[in-house]
């Protein structure tokens, strides 16, 4: 609803819905605090990387993929997100 107020409602709203996934996964699936912090980190990194790419690499539109790239990199280092609890598995 907040997004609806800012951007107006249209069918491209689902794109924003998809962007929620990187945020929650980044924070860890079972951590509410993680989701909030993950959302902020994703938002900041997204806009920062967009700025950097525009100024130094002359690339536009990095904004669309930056969250996903960061997501993959962070998940490679921490498979359960930043604050998610690690599952202990037994055979």
């Amino acid at each position: 609803m907040l997004i609806g107020n800012i951007n107006g409602i249209n069918s491209s709203l689902y794109h924003f819905g998809l962007k929620v996934f990187p945020a929650t996964i980044l924070g860890g699936l079972d951590s509410i605090l993680g989701a909030a912090i993950g959302g902020m980190i994703i938002g900041i990194l997204e806009n920062l990387s967009d700025g950097f790419a525009k100024t130094y690499l002359n690339l536009s539109g990095v904004k669309e993929v930056a969250p996903y790239v960061f997501l993959v990199i962070i998940l490679m280092i921490k498979p359960y997100g930043l604050f998610g609890t690690k599952e202990i598995e037994r055979v």
């Binding site: 699936l29 996903y68 790239v69 993959v72 498979p79 055979v91």
Partner: protein, 355 residues
């Protein structure tokens, strides 16, 4: 599933793809049917015209892609939301090779498979450490990253304008009509599907299934997890690449919109509806998911022709009904069409003494 009086005495016999003479005859008849179907004529007109032939073509192409994602998701248990983008990689590779480098389709098709397999393996690397939902999101990321590359890497992909590509040709003869192109697609599909069915009987296929059933147990038994997961991503993407290339050549035009997230979800839906971990299931799923929207739009057209007053309403309900059918299907048929078919066969095998 064994018929009465059909006993196996050797392991070799047990491993056969076509196990009874009856099934062999059935497959042969089906193959002949597929071969003659496009050229059948009724009163001087082709039985399959225009759109119907096109649907058959798309079903064959989707079967290849669905078998590919079933190898990854159904057999190896690695969920993937990036199949649509991998189709795109295949289509763009083949388009670049044929349209911009001027090479033949027969170079473009394997090249599409190889490049997509490579891309799939790169995006499969996170599967080493991730599983379940986390892996699903990582593959979703690959979908968006690849889609972004399609739009931005203009020197290769033609940006948002796309690339126009030719139909394949052999020794000067161009397969320009859908009817002749169908045979190329059919040949490729048969080879690919037989290869997949055979793959699942080998050491590699059994390793895939072991990884799916319990990856820690599999690792303890000496299966190199990383190797087999990457291999699975590679093979699955190879299938996606070939399917994408065939799709691109069938449309003669490639743009990034043809390979968005919806395509990935449709492919995932195909194998869930058809049956996870079953080659036939992927084909049933492909048939179902391609036919259902066409069937619905035909029904909608008929309804709006008879009742013009609710035409607008009917059209807007079309997508809703599509979703509803899929949900109902999953509730009542959670193991997929392949499982239902097995149950039907089991019923008739023992009929009328079903216990």
């Amino acid at each position: 599933m064994h018929y009465c009086g059909d006993f196996r005495t050797t392991y070799r016999k047990d491993m056969e793809i076509f196990q009874t003479p009856f099934i062999k005859v059935c497959m042969a008849v089906f193959l002949v049917f597929l071969l003659v179907l496009p050229v059948l004529k009724l009163k001087g007109e082709y039985l399959l015209k225009g759109e119907y032939l096109w649907i058959l073509l798309q079903i064959l192409i989707a079967s290849i892609g669905a078998v590919g994602i079933n190898i990854l998701t159904g057999y190896t248990g690695q969920i993937s939301l990036g199949q649509g983008a991998f189709l795109g990689v295949g289509a763009y590779t083949s388009a670049y090779v044929t349209a911009k480098m001027g090479l033949s389709f027969w170079v473009g098709l394997p090249a599409a498979g190889a490049v997509t397999a490579l891309a799939g393996m790169v995006f499969g690397i996170p599967s080493l450490r991730l599983k379940g939902l986390y892996l699903a999101i990582a593959t979703l990321a690959s979908q968006f990253i690849l889609e972004w590359i399609f739009v931005r890497w203009e020197s290769v992909t033609g940006g948002s304008h796309g690339i126009t590509i030719p139909r394949p040709s052999i020794a000067g003869h161009t397969f320009s009509t859908d009817r002749s192109y169908y045979y190329i697609v059919l040949a490729v599909a048969i080879v690919m599907i037989l290869f997949a069915a055979n793959l699942m009987r080998t050491r590699t296929g059994r390793a895939f299934m072991a990884v799916r059933d319990h990856y820690i147990s599999a690792e303890i038994m000496g299966i190199h997890l990383f190797k087999y997961r990457l291999l699975s991503f590679g093979i699955s993407s190879f299938y996606a690449g070939v399917a994408g290339a065939l799709f691109g050549h069938s449309l003669k035009y490639v743009t990034s919109e043809q390979f968005n997230i919806e395509v990935s979800i449709v492919y995932l839906a195909m194998i869930i509806i058809g049956g996870l971990g079953s080659i036939m299931g992927s084909i049933y799923g492909a048939v179902f998911m391609i036919l259902l929207p066409k069937l619905l739009s035909t029904v909608t057209e008929m309804v709006s022709a008879d009742f013009p007053s609710i035409a607008r309403l009917a059209i807007s309900f079309e997508h809703g009904i599509f979703g509803l059918i899929i949900i109902l299907f999953l509730i009542f048929e959670p193991d997929g069409l392949a499982h239902r078919w097995k149950m039907v066969k089991a019923y008739w095998k023992l009929y009328p003494f079903s216990y």
